[in-house]
Symmetry: C2
Subunit: 156 residues, 2 copies
């Protein structure tokens, strides 16, 4: 990355490579993106400092640890007051089975994705946890039959 904060072609290649496989050594990465190892290292530091390149995470196969079922759930709030929204979002934050939450335009207020073991597991979550929250007025759950694509890579 040049000092003007712009991302150039080499930066893009670095980001793409690291999004696909962060276990690459700087040397492998260097030859893959067509730059020197030292240059790669400096660019990575700059991208981290700029907050563009964030965490390094290891992925776990959900099905293998008993979380093979995805449910997408639309949520309607009882109130749109700031406190109600903050309370709900804080609640979402604290529930590890909720892996994604979007505040939505349109007829529903939120869309969340939940990973569960099975239908019964979801029933428990819905009845006891989600619908028990004071901010939640209603929910419409949709089960995923399969996840045909999942990537953490943002296109560049």
């Amino acid at each position: 990355m040049k000092q003007d904060g712009q991302i150039d072609e080499v930066d893009r290649r670095i980001l793409s490579a690291l999004q696909a496989d962060a276990s690459l050594s700087h040397q492998d990465l260097a030859e893959r993106v067509g730059a020197s190892s030292a240059s790669c290292w400096r660019r990575i530091k700059a991208l981290e400092a700029a907050g563009i390149l964030t965490r390094t995470v290891r992925l776990v196969d959900p099905a293998q640890v008993g979380r093979g079922v995805n449910v997408l759930c639309n949520i309607r709030m009882r109130s749109h007051a700031r406190e109600a929204r903050a309370a709900f979002e804080h609640f979402v934050d604290g529930r590890p089975e909720i892996v994604e939450c979007f505040s939505m335009s349109g007829e529903w207020d939120y869309l969340i994705r939940i990973v569960v073991a099975d239908v019964e597991d979801y029933n428990r979550f819905l009845m006891q946890t989600l619908l028990g929250h004071p901010s939640v007025a209603g929910a419409a759950s949709h089960f995923a039959l399969s996840m045909t694509k999942y990537t953490t890579a943002i296109p560049l």
Copy 2:
């Protein structure tokens, strides 16, 4: 992991730690989960061999690279024939702006998440790319106002 393939408490701690931060060294990891470095190493190898622990990826801040807008889009297929589904899923695979795709139960056939720069960008994608696909009969797009939670960590 014992030879029976079961995941014990230490394995769970290893998985949790690596899901949160895969840049930990085996030694740091070891003391964090309360085991020796060698034991940690063996367990990680076993978890990889079992396919439980998969890729290591680096995350990129979508907003910083001009992909700050999320759109959730329900899709109805023209046909449910196997070839039509395969063709659509292959198409999804090849479009990097589509980061997630679920085959759904209920009134819609698929739910996809798309990351775009702005509304105009999405308009282009919808009109020229998505609706241009022969398998797609219709689509209902919902814009996310914000992403309040996103994690790659599966609860254990």
